[in-house]
């Protein structure tokens, strides 16, 4: 209870041994801080293996993996933004409606008014930013709870979508725009059995990842910080290499690298880095963790919360565009229940209901758990009725496991 401070290794009285932790200690320490995230990664791997067996190998067939990515891309985009909002201690229920609204706006601009698609795309992202700013204003500067403001937004944007589309779907989109949702990177170079550019990209990603890991380790060493034991570090590198290689080969043996995956990768690394390494990201965690303490440390909490909602607005717009592009239509029914999927993804991926905890990578993992469950269950022929029940229980179990873990950890 009170004495968490001192947990010395009583088995060794040698004072030097205290400074150099054993492998088990280091491992335990690395895991302890991230039980939830490692737990979800393991759970994701288990679910994948389970369905891979259950579907006689269909799950990880190149075609299906590509489908899986494209089907879930918009939820994953929303989950990134939702994670940020939840870390700041808020919630956004309007994202599904906002996605539909921007998809509809894109359709009106491109199909009815024949605007060039890049112009319309930028305009839609700006609409998203404005919608986010609108909600962020009421939440942070006026002080209305985000649940209420975004519930209102959910109705307003859904209604706006229907008004704009007059109850009709609008289609088709220009070819260039459709590619955002269902296109692939172009093929280059000689004909091989694989998609060359994808292989190149995979190799590049792998090189950068390994370089980063090594550089980070060297830097940590130069700062005199405690490092992971070498064996563990190499094992980690090997695991990363294997994962990237398998994934690259899978994609390269079908149509190649989906464009939307590129978008997702940029968002994952961009926002991951922002939340982890930028001052504003850190302030977001501080506000969610303890707003009063953050304010007394000089954090401008209103502005940070406002910006979190602007970001969410832009990401919701992007998700709406990707969805519309994949469907090749702007439709009034777009985005229904997206907000709930995104919220579930964030919580499965390690967000805390009270704010201040979670990672962007966690949101992606949580989204993938849901996505693989959806896809796998569909493949083995489980109806959507049962799927919903199972997904609901998974959400409850994931958060329940976390609550149980925290209570066990004490105080």
């Amino acid at each position: 209870m009170a004495q968490t401070g001192t947990t010395p290794q009583t088995r060794k009285a040698d004072p030097e041994a205290v400074g150099r932790p054993s492998l088990q200690d280091a491992l335990a320490r690395a895991l302890r801080g991230n039980v939830r995230q490692y737990g979800m990664l393991v759970a994701l791997a288990l679910i994948v293996v389970l369905f891979q067996i259950w579907t006689d190998g269909i799950l990880l067939q190149p075609l299906n993996v590509t489908n899986l990515i494209q089907q879930n891309s918009y939820i994953l985009i929303l989950a990134i933004g939702m994670m940020i909002v939840i870390i700041a201690g808020h919630i956004d229920l309007s994202v599904g409606s906002l996605a539909a609204f921007t998809g509809a706006a894109a359709a009106v601009m491109m199909v009815k008014h024949h605007l060039p698609w890049p112009v319309a795309l930028v305009a839609c992202l700006l609409i998203g930013a404005a919608a986010g700013a609108w909600q962020g204003f009421w939440i942070s500067y006026v002080g209305i709870p985000s649940f209420i403001v975004t519930l209102a937004g959910m109705l307003v944007f859904r209604g706006g979508t229907q008004i704009m589309l007059q109850g009709q779907s609008i289609a088709p989109f220009p070819r260039g725009f459709q590619k955002i949702g269902s296109g692939f990177l172009p093929e280059v170079g000689p004909r091989t059995d694989y998609h060359n550019l994808t292989l190149l990209l995979g190799a590049a990603v792998l090189a950068v990842a390994i370089l980063q890991e090594v550089r980070g380790r060297r830097q940590a060493a130069s700062y005199g910080l405690e490092l992971l034991p070498t064996g563990f570090f190499l094992a980690k590198l090997a695991a990363v290499t294997a994962a990237v290689a398998v994934f690259t080969l899978l994609l390269a043996s079908y149509h190649g690298f989906p464009i939307v995956l590129l978008i997702l990768a940029v968002l994952l690394f961009g926002f991951g880095y922002l939340m982890r390494n930028s001052i504003i990201g850190r302030h977001t965690y501080a506000i969610g963790g303890n707003e009063a303490a953050a304010k007394l440390s000089g954090v401008k909490s209103k502005r940070v919360v406002f910006l979190a909602f602007v970001t969410m607005g832009v990401l919701a717009a992007l998700a709406g565009l990707v969805f519309a592009a994949r469907l090749n239509a702007g439709t009034p029914q777009a985005g229904i229940n997206f907000e709930l999927e995104a919220i579930a993804a964030a919580f499965i991926g390690g967000a805390s209901a009270s704010g201040g905890v979670g990672t962007v990578l966690g949101a992606i993992i949580g989204g993938l758990v849901l996505g693989v469950l959806n896809n796998g269950m569909s493949l083995v022929g489980i109806g959507t009725d049962y799927q919903q029940v199972i997904k609901g229980l998974v959400l409850l179990a994931a958060v329940g496991f976390d609550v149980y873990n925290k209570r066990k950890a004490g105080s």
Binding site: M1, A2, Q3, T4, G5, T6, T7, R29, G33, Q219, A220, S222, Y223, G224, L225, E226, R276, N277, S278, I279, I280, R282, H283, Y285, A286, G289, N290, A292, A293, A294, K295, L296, S297, G298, V299, K300, S352, S354, G356, V357, A409, G410, S411
Partner: protein, 515 residues
């Protein structure tokens, strides 16, 4: 004379690492008003929590006899069923329910779960007449002032057929007129045979209504005096309250005092909701480089409110006053402005206002000055970790790693993290609010050393503390506050616990002279 209505015998209550009460005895005679006096942290509230069952039977040692029968309350409802009702300083009313609903909350006039509004309203009306509150029972509590809310609390207690009423600092938030009415009500209830325990540090109030007074100090009963005969002077009570053991050793230091760093002039702050009450009233003070200055005061004196208000107007509504740094007026309207001018405030309430308990040590330490571990808005986590490691070593923070969540640390280590955070921000002036509250003896000594070192480095340090020996052991100069006003300024050489306590408990007469 009838036997005692309440006897608490040899009550001992320990928390991890702290003995809050040791061997406390309290005897309340039937139908008397019994005051309890003591400094902050003397154990008054803990004793009352033991009595009312907040700390259930079994979590303390000793026995409680109510009307001669032993009591083993397992929760607060059990004590209320016997007629012991406690009214806390922070009122526990539901603002958006009516007076009548509040009075019978948890004690409804109902048959099979259906409330009888007729009986509720009639009965509430009777009770309101008894406490002298002329309001309709259906008025919302939120529409009442604090004084009237206090009366609603008492009506609520009467509804539970109270035989022993415990009032914890009942007049702390009241103006003079409301206080006077409340004290008269206490005397009326006494005439109706209701005994009352009154926790108060306003000695003039005690002199007015109490029959006897028990003094607690450091979790022990010091003495019980009879007030009724008129033989107890305020000085006598003060002498009992102070004189805590000098249990700590304070670092030796030879202060090198420079020019004035921070000066506050005529600072006035209104209560955030009740704009008729000045929580801080025209306070002027200053602190020099290399100097440690104390602010002494009892609960509700306005010390924390003063500090938080100066630090970015984080409390209440500022209505006047200036802040000067090195003789020049500065703006401290936001926390960032205050921090930018070199002011740091280490809060009294670590968990609520000081730390992000869900985050690790390193991230908590850097939060006050993230700019120092980052370049162009990007944080260098390695640098941040190194900084945290440095403070973990120099402040002796006991934790498995600098990434350990601060929620898992002990109080002393948490306090070291908060101190590290503000030392890392390199302020010129540090305001430390109760820097050793709830901390074990060893950690206290370490924190005293840190404070002395800061002064030796030329920082100006303001220490707000409720522990007089701590102020006497640490400070070069001590201000006293009472009821929002500055009541004294004493050099350490001239200060004793008694002289400070006298300034902290100025009675109404002395105050009127000052105005």
């Amino acid at each position: 004379m009838a036997g005692p209505v309440l006897e608490m015998r040899a009550i001992t209550k320990t928390f991890p690492g702290v003995r809050a009460l040791s061997d406390v005895n309290l005897t309340v005679a039937a139908g008397e008003v019994h005051a309890i006096c003591g400094e902050n942290g003397a154990g008054k509230s803990t004793l009352m929590k033991v009595l009312s069952g907040v700390y259930p039977h079994g979590s303390y040692e000793g026995e409680i006899l109510f009307k001669g029968e032993p009591c083993r309350f397992k929760d607060i409802r059990a004590s209320e069923r016997r007629g012991i009702v406690i009214i806390h300083q922070e009122l526990a009313l539901v603002p958006y329910l009516s007076i009548a609903e509040n009075v019978f909350l948890g004690n409804e006039h109902a048959r099979r779960g259906v409330i009888s509004w007729n009986r509720t309203l009639t009965h509430a009306g009777e009770l309101l007449r008894r406490v002298g509150l002329h309001e309709h029972p259906q008025t919302r509590v939120a529409d009442l002032g604090v004084g009237k809310q206090q009366l609603v609390e008492i009506a609520k207690a009467l509804a539970k057929e109270v035989e022993l009423l415990i009032l914890d600092e009942p007049t702390a938030a009241l103006n003079d007129e409301d206080s006077r009415k409340l004290l008269e009500l206490i005397l009326e209830l006494k005439a109706q045979g209701i005994a009352c325990i009154l926790i108060s540090h306003k000695l003039n109030e005690i002199a007015k209504v109490a029959d006897s007074v028990t003094i607690l100090r450091d979790g022990r009963t010091i003495e019980t005096l009879a007030v009724g005969a008129g033989g107890v002077s305020e000085d006598r009570i003060i002498r009992g309250m102070v004189g805590r053991d000098l249990e700590h050793r304070y670092p030796e230091r030879t202060p090198e005092i420079g020019e004035v760093a921070l000066a506050v002039e005529d600072w006035t702050v209104q209560h955030p909701i009740d704009h008729h009450r000045n929580v801080v009233d025209g306070v002027s003070l200053h602190v020099r480089r290399g100097e440690i200055v104390g602010i002494a005061g009892l609960m509700g004196a306005g010390r924390t409110e003063l500090a938080m208000s100066v630090f970015g107007r984080s409390y209440g509504r500022w209505t006047g006053g200036r802040v000067l740094m090195h003789g020049e007026e500065i703006r401290t309207r936001t926390v960032s402005e205050a921090v930018g001018h070199g002011i740091a405030y280490v809060t009294e309430d670590r968990k609520q206002f000081g730390l992000n308990l869900a985050d690790g040590i390193s991230r908590n330490i850097s939060l006050g000055a993230l700019g120092k571990v980052s370049r162009r808005g990007w944080i260098n986590e390695h640098e941040e970790t190194r900084v945290a490691e440095r403070y973990r070593a120099s402040m002796n923070i006991k934790a498995p790693s600098v990434f350990t969540e601060t929620g898992k640390l002990s109080g002393g280590n948490q306090q070291k993290v908060v101190l590290s955070k503000w030392i890392f921000a390199e302020p010129e002036v540090l305001i430390l609010d109760e820097p050793t509250r709830g901390i074990d003896v060893g950690a206290k000594a370490e924190i005293y050393t840190v404070i002395a070192d800061l002064a030796a480095q030329g920082k100006a340090v303001l220490v707000i503390s409720s522990e007089l020996p701590e102020l006497l052991g640490l400070c070069d100069r001590i201000y006293t506050m009472a009821e929002g006003r500055l009541t004294g300024e004493v050099e350490r050489a001239d200060a004793t616990q008694e002289s400070l306590m006298r300034l902290m408990t100025v009675s109404a007469a002395i105050q009127n002279e000052q105005v």
